[in-house]
Structures are given as structure tokens and as C-alpha cells.
């Protein structure tokens, strides 16, 4: 496989409603910033992979209108859409296209403009025969799975709230993040409105408008354009059953993420993820899920996730900072959320994360989460 690296990233300011910009303009902003970051022009881009969940805005083939915003004029353009994992799956698709030998530089852009649609209605459009009757959008189905997870692992609402606080505190150092809640406390999370027991409003990710772009280059181009490229070392996808009732206690087992991480670690030679990985940008749609992902990703033994957050291991100054950007809990334009994970992980390796930079990052992990239990795992490194 040809070596491929991320050489530039760009994102918009994310917000509840970006009324000042169309979808195409958001994509153009992210693209322009990524090109500037990589030090190239659109003319050097050989192909483009887009990511967006069209049904959230009710658009058919949105790349037709928005592709031009990414500079897709008469270039090879393809759109990937797999639910929440759309962004990471598009990043994996872009990586494969760049490694194919046919293209040298590939641009990946994800976007979502939730303010122009009805996301939870879109999420309820599942299988019409069985699942749609019980479809409840993101909050309802997580409340079910979280209850199972809490029963199995004994994590507390306080521990989940600490995850929510960590994310929003980190986000205050990320100028692009959507939710920036200065001085947020555990009590504030626990006192926020109950959405579906045990999920409080501040436990949940927001719906954001925004876009994010990542630029890949093959080895010689990467070395030419970037002083410290972020090399792709592993990219693994696992999908799972389409019916929530067929999934065995989703957050407890999360077999897709476990298996994808196992394969990715094996490829890179990681045996002690907590010690060896320097920073992680993981797709945590709800505070409790981050705790569950700690176990699935092997950061701790089963039942130890609560201790990890209590001990501050995943805080900015901890052994393995998780989501220095503020994560999905702070910024969630779905089609871009996975691209943001990869971009933020790459920024950490490239040393370009600004005020939320973790010192001396050599190995970074990005994950995607989507549908009921689909997972992507991507590992980036400085060499």
C-alpha cells in the first residue's frame, strides 16, 4: 500500500444555525482553509470525496449543488454516506483513493446544516416494517442502551457528567467549536433538563451547522508540502445488525469498535493503547458512550471506565487526552463529525492544534460511530 498522509485540514466555525452561509458556502470555507493549511491550490487536488447525510436536510444528491463549493468542477467527485460514520468512512475512502496509485492528492469534505432540516425525524426513518414503530431518534435509543450499560458496569451519572464537563471545557480552547460553556460544572450537567432517563440535556451532543475538510497526499507530495505530515497507519470499518433489538447490549459489548480497534492496533503494533497512543479524537454522541468506548478501545478493563474519568486520565493533562477539540459533545454537524475526528487527530500529529494542542503527539487515534453500532477506527502517526 502506498504511504499516504494528511497534509492539511480546515473547518468552519460550527454553530446551531449558520444563517450567514449556504451548505455550499460552508463547504467552500472549510475547503479553502484546508488548501491554505496544506499550502496547495485546488488545481493540485486530483479527486474529491464528500460526506453528508442528505435526508437530514431533505436534499437528493446534495453533491450536485454542493460539489462546486468543494472545488469539484469537472473533477472526480464521489459522496459517501453511512450515517454517523459518513465522515470517517469518507476519510477511509479518500485514503484508499489516494493509496490506489491513480491520484496523488485527495480532498475529503464533510458537512451538515441541521438547521435546515429535521434531523430527529430523519433518524426515525428506519425500516418501515419493524424498526420504525419503535424508532425514537438518537436520545431515545441511547437512553435504552445506556440503561443496559449502567446496569452492567455501575457507572454513575456523576461520572458521565464529568465526561460532558471535560468536553465543553476543552471546547473553550477550540475557536471553531459550537458549544462553549465557560465554567461548566458537574452539577450544571446533572441539573440540566432530563431528555430520557438517564440522559440529561448536557449529556447529549448538539446538532450543529458546519463543515470540515482533510487533504491527503502520497509520500513524495506529503514530504514536499508538509514539514510534519500525519501518516495514515490503519483504517478499519465494521458494520453491524440493522435492528436495535438484534444488538446484544450495544454499549456493553460494542463489538464493532472492539474488533476494528483490535485490527487497527495489530496493524500498527499497539499492545498497550492507553500508554502508547498520545491523543484520541473519538466519536462520542453522548457522555455515557465515551465511557463505553474507553472499554471497547482497550483504554481500560471492563468496568474501569468510571475510574478513568474520575482519575483524570483522559483530561488534557492526563495520560491519554481524549477529545481535546471538545468532541462530538461540543460540535456535531453529522456529515462532518467524522471528518472532524480525523482532522483534529491529524492536527495534533502535525502540531497545528493551537490552544488545544497536546504536547509531543506521535500517535493519534480517530474513531467514527454511526447508525446503531457501526464503527470506523483510523490511526495516524508522525512517522
Amino acid at each position: 500500500m502506498r504511504r499516504v498522509a494528511v497534509i492539511g485540514t480546515g473547518q468552519t466555525k460550527h454553530a446551531k444555525a449558520r444563517d450567514d452561509a449556504t451548505q455550499s458556502e460552508l463547504v467552500r470555507q472549510a475547503t479553502t482553509r484546508a488548501l491554505a493549511d496544506a499550502g496547495i491550490t485546488i488545481h493540485e487536488v486530483d479527486a474529491i470525496v464528500l460526506s453528508n447525510m442528505e435526508l437530514f436536510e431533505g436534499r437528493a444528491l446534495p453533491e450536485m449543488w454542493v460539489g462546486e463549493g468543494a472545488g469539484g468542477y469537472r473533477k472526480p467527485v464521489m459522496k459517501i454516506a453511512t450515517g454517523g460514520t459518513s465522515g470517517t468512512s469518507a476519510c477511509i475512502a479518500g485514503y484508499h483513493q489516494c493509496a490506489s496509485g491513480l491520484f496523488d492528492i485527495v480532498l475529503v469534505v464533510g458537512w451538515e446544516k441541521h438547521s435546515e432540516g429535521a434531523t430527529q425525524t430523519g433518524m426515525a426513518l428506519t425500516d418501515p416494517l419493524w424498526d420504525r414503530n419503535v424508532a425514537s431518534g438518537a436520545v431515545g435509543n441511547f437512553a435504552l442502551s445506556i440503561s443496559q450499560y449502567v446496569a452492567a458496569r455501575g457507572v454513575t451519572p456523576q461520572q458521565a457528567a464529568k465526561v460532558a464537563v471535560k468536553a465543553r471545557r476543552n471546547a473553550t480552547r477550540n475557536p471553531y467549536a459550537h458549544l462553549q460553556i465557560d465554567g461548566i460544572t458537574v452539577e450544571q450537567v446533572l441539573q440540566s433538563r432530563m431528555l430520557a432517563d438517564p440522559v440529561h440535556l448536557l449529556d447529549m451532543c448538539p446538532q450543529s451547522d458546519g463543515a470540515c475538510a482533510v487533504i491527503y497526499a502520497v509520500e513524495d507530495r506529503a514530504k514536499k508540502f508538509c514539514p510534519r505530515p500525519s501518516w495514515v497507519r490503519a483504517a478499519v470499518t465494521r458494520h453491524d445488525q440493522p435492528y436495535i433489538g438484534d444488538l446484544d447490549r450495544r454499549l456493553v459489548t460494542m463489538r464493532t469498535l472492539r474488533d476494528a480497534a483490535r485490527e487497527a492496533y495489530q496493524r500498527v503494533g499497539i499492545t498497550e493503547p492507553l500508554r502508547e497512543i498520545d491523543v484520541a479524537e473519538i466519536y462520542e454522541p453522548v457522555s455515557y458512550a465515551e465511557l463505553a468506548w474507553y472499554e471497547a478501545l482497550g483504554f481500560c478493563a471492563e468496568g474501569e471506565a468510571g475510574r478513568l474519568i474520575d482519575d483524570g486520565v483522559t483530561e488534557m493533562n492526563g495520560e491519554l487526552p481524549v477529545n481535546p477539540s471538545g468532541g462530538v459533545l461540543s460540535t456535531n454537524p453529522v456529515g462532518a463529525s467524522g471528518v472532524l475526528r480525523v482532522a483534529e487527530a491529524a492536527m495534533q500529529v502535525m502540531g497545528r492544534a493551537g490552544d488545544h494542542q497536546v504536547p509531543d503527539v506521535r500517535l493519534a487515534l480517530a474513531t467514527g460511530y454511526g447508525v446503531y453500532a457501526w464503527s470506523d477506527v483510523i490511526i495516524l502517526s508522525a512517522d
Binding site: 500500500m1 502506498r2 449556504t22 455550499s24 447525510m53 442528505e54 435526508l55 437530514f56 431533505g58 436534499r59 437528493a60 444528491l61 453533491e63 450536485m64 449543488w65 460539489g67 462546486e68 469539484g72 468542477y73 469537472r74 473533477k75 472526480p76 467527485v77 464521489m78 459522496k79 459517501i80 454516506a81 453511512t82 450515517g83 468512512s89 477511509i92 475512502a93 485514503y95 484508499h96 483513493q97 489516494c98 493509496a99 490506489s100 496509485g101 491513480l102 430523519g122 433518524m123 426513518l125 428506519t126 425500516d127 418501515p128 416494517l129 483504517a235 478499519v236 470499518t237 465494521r238 458494520h239 453491524d240 445488525q241 440493522p242 463489538r255 464493532t256 474488533d259 454511526g370 447508525v371
Partner: protein
Amino acid sequence: MQPITILGVGRTDYEPKPGVSIPEMVHHAVQAALADAGLTMQDVDARVTASADLWDGLTASNVAITEVVGAVMQPEARVAGDGLAAACHGAMSILANAYNVVLVVAHCKASMGDSGGITNWTFDPIYQQPLGLDDAAAAALQSSALHFPTPPLPPPIADGAAAIILAHAPHPQSAIRDPQLIGMGWALDEHYLGDRDLTDSPALREAARRALALANLDDPKRDLTFVELSEHFDYQRELWTFILGLDSTHDINSSGGLQRGVPPFVAGLDRLIQVVLRLRQESGVALAHGCWGPCGQGQVVMVVRR
């Protein structure tokens, strides 16, 4: 590019299927392709699927087919576009050495959807969508621009699924039979119809240029034995033929083309299947074409040889 072998093809009949669900259609196409290739699902490393959420009335419409494409605890990517573009991506991931055997599947249940309503939502929401444009109206503009003598005729509405299996290397038992993918290209045209010369398609020119260059072919008139085009309206056959540098003396759409009724998004992949089936009978070099979006805004071309 390193040639990629097309190990197997399978499809359903194309017709309105009121009693058949999307997963059932896809299951039939996938099982047919596996049987054709002499493989089982365990031999498949990854899948690329093609479908459209608004046509299916589902969010992440590949969720409905996870099981029947064998994606449980396995890799899958979904291209929201024509199935031939999905095949290109599948081939790219093989060229990247990410996978050895990739299943590519496309489906659409067009009989359930309101084509006018859905394709109206393809147009930008500020200038074009409020005008009530849809694919049929755009086709009327394009056929007028071409001075085509009759109103544009779309194919009969149909439901169906198609599947192919791509592999890094020929299967030892069928190496002589199986055609090889030797070139591919795809491109996106401008969106605003007013910005486009509707009598031309720079995106198809670009897609074909890339595909023919990879296949080391410089004279399509001389080098192509036959061609299978996606004419989503009857007038497009002549237009795509002209843009590809061919003329009516060439062997085009001998399978009957899309006018016998092939669902959207399945169309391009079905062109490839027709190419493969015929190349198994006679050696030659053939071109499969797909397009999607208003007046073929998205274009994709594959060159196949046996």
C-alpha cells in the same frame, strides 16, 4: 493501472415489484453474483453499496441491506450515486491493496418514489428548486437545446438490484472467462443549468479521457468493440455517443439499453453487467457508462477487456 478482474455478476429482473422488499431484491442480486463467481460471502473482504436515501425513504439507506450484503462485522462503504461510481470506488480500494475481493451492489425501488418530487430536491434550493425543475423538466430543456424532434422519453419505472464482484487477481478456475477492468474515470459537471452548455458534457469528456488513458486507448472509434450507455432519456443516447467520439455506425446498447426499464442508480452497474456478459462470449474492449443527477451532471466511465 493494474487490471482488476470481474469475477461475477448478478441482478434481479427490472420491473415494479410491489411485493418485494429492498433487502429481498438485494439478496437475490448478491446471491446471483456470488453463485456466478463460484464464491461464498466468506470470500468477500469488503462491500461498496450504492443507493439514495430519498428514493428509499430511509436514512442511511444501506442500513436496510447490511445483512444481505454480508456487512455484519465487516467493512462496507456506501456511495450515494450511480452503481458504476460505486464500482470505481471498489476498484480503487483494491488498487490500494486494502482488499482483495470487493462486492459492489446497487439498488433502487423507483416504483415507491415520486420522481418529480425527489429530483426537484436535487436542484439548489435558492435559484433552481423554487422554479419547480426536476429531472424530467431538465431533460426537456436539454432535448430542446439539442433540437431533438420528440419530447424526452424516460424508461419505464422499475425496481431492482444489481451486484458485481471485483478481485485483485483472476480466479484460477475462471481466468479465461472473466473480463478485466482496465480503465475508469468519473467527474462532476457544473450544477446550474444556465451555466452549462446542455449540448455538451465536459464531465463525460473528462471521465472518458481518464478511463481511456488508463486503458492506453487513444482512438475510441477504432479501439472499442462495443459500448453500453446510460440513456436516462431516449435523446441522451445520441448525445453521449457523440461526446465519446463515436457515431451511429458503432455497436451501442445491443443489450437494449435503459429503455427496457432499469432503475436509477442500478443503471450504470447494469451497463457494466451487460458488458461483462457479452465479453464472456466474445473477446474485445468495451465501455460501460453511467450518469446521475440532472442532465447527467455526474458522469462515470469504465473500460473492460477480454
